[in-house]
Each structure stands twice: as C-alpha cells, then as structure tokens.
Symmetry: C2
Subunit: 282 residues, 2 copies
C-alpha cells in the first residue's frame, strides 16, 4: 500500500517513528514525469534494504529561469504515482508550491564556483534553486540515503558538496545513466522532441561514445577530443551546442589532458529542448 | 563534569544516543568572550529541562567583513569554558576554523530582504556568514531548543526565518537583553571601549529609554521619535550613528507609526567599536 502525501505535517507524522528508531529511509527527489531513470533510483533504494523508499514529485519553480519551460514541464501526478509504486516506492511526497515556498519565503542555499560552470553558466540561478529545494526536501524527509542520476552529473557533484559543507547526514548514491534502446539518455524533456529532433538528439550519445573510444585508444589531448565532439554535433543541422567540457570529476574544472577519472559532458539544444549527457572515463 | 569537544566526529559520538532517544538538547551558539547575556541563555536551557545544554564557542570568520574586528575579537577558551560550566552547560563545542570550513568549502545559506536592512546595510555579507555558521552548528548539534539574545534582534528574526523557510526542527527562544548596572547592553565588544567611550555608550540605552517613555506617553509619530533618539545620540561627541530604525517585529520594515508590537533599534560607533541596542514596545 503506497501513500501519497501532500503536506510536510502529514509527512512528519508518518516519518517520526522511522527517525526515532533509526530505520533507514531511502529518498529520490524528482520533478515527476517519471521514466526508467527515476525508477532505477527507487529500485536501488529497495535493493539497499531501506525501511522506507520515498519519491518526491515537485516541479520546483526556483530552478527554472525566465523563459525556461516551467509552465510546459510535463505534470501527471496520477501516472507518476502508478510508476513510482511499480518501481517500489512506499511513499510519494507531492507538495504544492505554497507548501514548499509559503508567503514570505526568503532563504536560499547557494554555492560558489561549482555552480558557475557548465550548465550553471547557461542557466543562471538554476543550481541555487536546485540546492534550496533539495535541502528543504532533505530537511522534511531526513533520508539516510539519497539517490540521484548520473545524467545530471553537475547536479550530483553540487549536492554532494552541499552535504559535505553543511554537515548533512545523508549518504549520496549516484546511479548510472539509463538510456533508450537507441542510446538517448532518458529525460523527462525527451517528451518535447518532435520526430526530427528526437533522431538528431542521438548525436549527443554518439559523440560521447566516440570521445570514449578515442580516449580508450590512448587520446589524452583535450582540445582534440573536444574538437571531435564539436565536429560530430556540429554536423547535425538541428543541434545547437551549449558546451562540450572535459572536467575533473569533483572540482568540475577543465582538465589539461585526460589522465585519471575524467568526465566528458555535453549540453545542446534541439529546437527549444535543451538536453544534457555525459560519460565518465578512467 | 562538563566536556569540551573540538571536532564534529567527537560531538556526533556523544550526541547520537540523545538523538536516538529524542532527549531534548538545548543549544546556545556563541563567539565566546562569554558574559552574563550568554549565561542567561544557558541558564534558560537548564530551566527548560533539556537533557543536555550545549554552548558552542566559535569566532566565525565568515561573518566579519574586511576591516572588521575578526583578528582582535577576544578569545579566551579556558575562561569561557569556566563561565559556561558555571552557567550550567554540559558540553562546550569549540571547533577550529578548519573543522567548520575545510578546504574546498563553497556552500552558503543566504536570505533576501531581511538581511539587507539595518545592520545588513552597514555590514554586507555579515548575515550570510551568520546564517551559514548557525545552520552548520544546528546540523552538527541537532538541538531541539536554540537560545539567542534579543540584543542581536535582527539576527534572531533572521534565524527564525531560516528555521521556518528551511523546515528546520528547532524551537527558537529569544531571551531578554542583559544590561550592566548602568544600563549598557552586555556585549563582548564592550571590552574594546576605553573609559570615555564606555561612558558615552550609555546614550544608546538612554535614548531607547526616552523613545519608550514617549511611546508610553502616546507618541506614535515615527519621524518625531527618530528625531529625538538622533538628537540625544548626536549630542554625544564620540558617538557616530549608523541608524535609528523603528520597524515591524518580523518583517523589519520601517513602520509609518507606532501601533502594535514595534521595535526601536540603534547602531552606533564609539571610536572603532560598533554597538547595537534595541527595545520592543507594544
């Protein structure tokens, strides 16, 4: 029997016995429009023997910039609840915007440096919104284990940094990217893509695969690798590249050459749809 | 037997049984140089039957601006520990700067509006530093009850707002201002004052008393009240006024006239020493 809860007070009442007994809570914060990527987080929480597996479904206005897709973002709570249940969630927390940000709300969690790079440079204020909502969700759920997808690689690094810096007692789990059969990384935003852009978007995964292959073959030169990824994406008419970056896995700083664990990240727009993807190489 | 603890790990080990059992923890965060104002917080925590009363002693570099008194701020841990013990603390948490802000620290708690007014306008970044350190101290202590002094009125409003906005499970207690026999509000910074400035600083309390008296006599006109406070402080040669403000007790917005609960706040410098004081009227 899965429960759907809309208020912090109701959630508090349900969770208090778990907090008291120290029974582990696993938690996956989402914006809904659940796909198999989200499901893999909930399944992992079950597999990790958490006493309770919780998914939150909240389209967080704070992390959308002006002109971004806050209004269009897909919302279908009933369907999401069904998917979450099937993936093993015991509880769905689906608060309203007023429940999360009541009148007079003025407090934020923010971060220097890590939030200014990559997607942060293209979406000012985005990670401030992410940090604030994830912090609040952690505060109301008090999970022992939190599950995030590697697809939002920068987000996962930033949240791990917040956990460390703010002395939060949460263990972070980053789960591998789940892909469609043809390689496209699963994303709620894939639903926006028309047939043409859906086909063109495959280039993100293909270009990353090519970079991985070159690195596997001994290529360490970042400029050459970036040029190759840019060339492949540039060859696709409908793709507008935001960035190709090859960075240190924790500092997210550009590396000079590929040696040790390194992350290759891309972001590109297909029409109005902005997609991201990445690959970790070692 | 009072314990003095310097690391988060050591603190965690001691507090875990209290968290598990739900035994209430009372907490007063301080920057040391303890005086009777601080002691009143610890005594209240004892009186409130907390299972454990904790004082933290940490001169927080983040809340000092460039050119402020971070280096000069009085530090005497041995004496502070003695005072805290006598006031009823069971544990003193005195972390190093490296323990609170390890290499790579980049995360902050910040707030709009409330932090921009009053002292915030004169000390840019100050409340960001206060919010961040108080948040972190809350995260490592996980107090049920937190005790702050009304002397730092704006700080107490801001911390209460953070607690509300970030869903923190802490009850805030604001304790009355403790004064020297001649009326000067107790402050660790009073130790900076030479004989002349010490005498001159009495005007803060006297001017607030006069405002309170006028309000008690029916004066509601904010401009007149401010003018009178300004006149009294202006008559003191060594006093440099930062502000006289008459504000709403929660929004800290200037009120048009005194009706209902209202706070009169002053900040002034005597030589290099910046002092604040306030009075709540109803």
């Amino acid at each position: 029997m899965m429960r759907v809860v809309h208020t912090v007070a109701e959630l508090h009442k349900i969770l208090l016995p778990y907090w008291r007994k120290g029974d582990p809570i696993g938690f996956a914060p989402t914006m809904g429009a659940l796909h198999d990527g989200h499901c893999s987080l909930l399944r992992q929480s079950r597999a990790d023997h958490n006493a309770l597996t919780i998914a939150s479904i909240f389209v967080n206005p704070l992390q959308f910039g002006p002109g971004e897709d806050y209004d269009e973002y897909p919302r279908d709570l009933q369907n999401d609840v069904k998917i979450a249940r099937e993936a093993g969630a015991d509880l769905v927390f689906a608060p309203s915007v007023a429940e999360m940000y009541p009148r007079g709300f003025v407090t934020f969690v923010d971060m220097e440096k890590l939030t200014e790079r990559l997607c942060g440079a293209h979406r000012p204020g985005h990670f401030k919104g992410v940090l604030t909502v994830v912090f609040k969700l952690f505060a109301v759920v008090r999970p022992n284990h939190a599950y995030f997808g590697q697809k939002d690689y920068q987000q996962s690094v930033i949240i791990q940094r917040m956990i460390t810096d703010l002395n939060l007692d949460v263990k972070m789990h980053i789960m591998p990217i789940i892909r469609e059969p043809d390689g496209l990384a699963m994303s709620s935003r894939n639903a926006y893509l028309g047939t043409k852009h859906r086909q063109e978007a495959l280039v993100l995964h293909q270009a990353l695969d090519r970079a991985k292959e070159l690195i596997g073959g001994g290529e360490k030169n970042v400029k050459k690798l970036q040029a190759e990824v840019r060339r492949l994406i540039g060859a696709v008419k409908g793709a507008k590249l935001d960035y190709v970056s090859i960075v240190h896995p924790e500092t997210l700083e550009d590396v000079n050459d590929v040696s040790g664990k390194t992350v290759v990240l891309v972001a590109a727009r297909f029409g109005k749809t902005r997609l991201i993807d990445n690959v970790i190489v070692d």
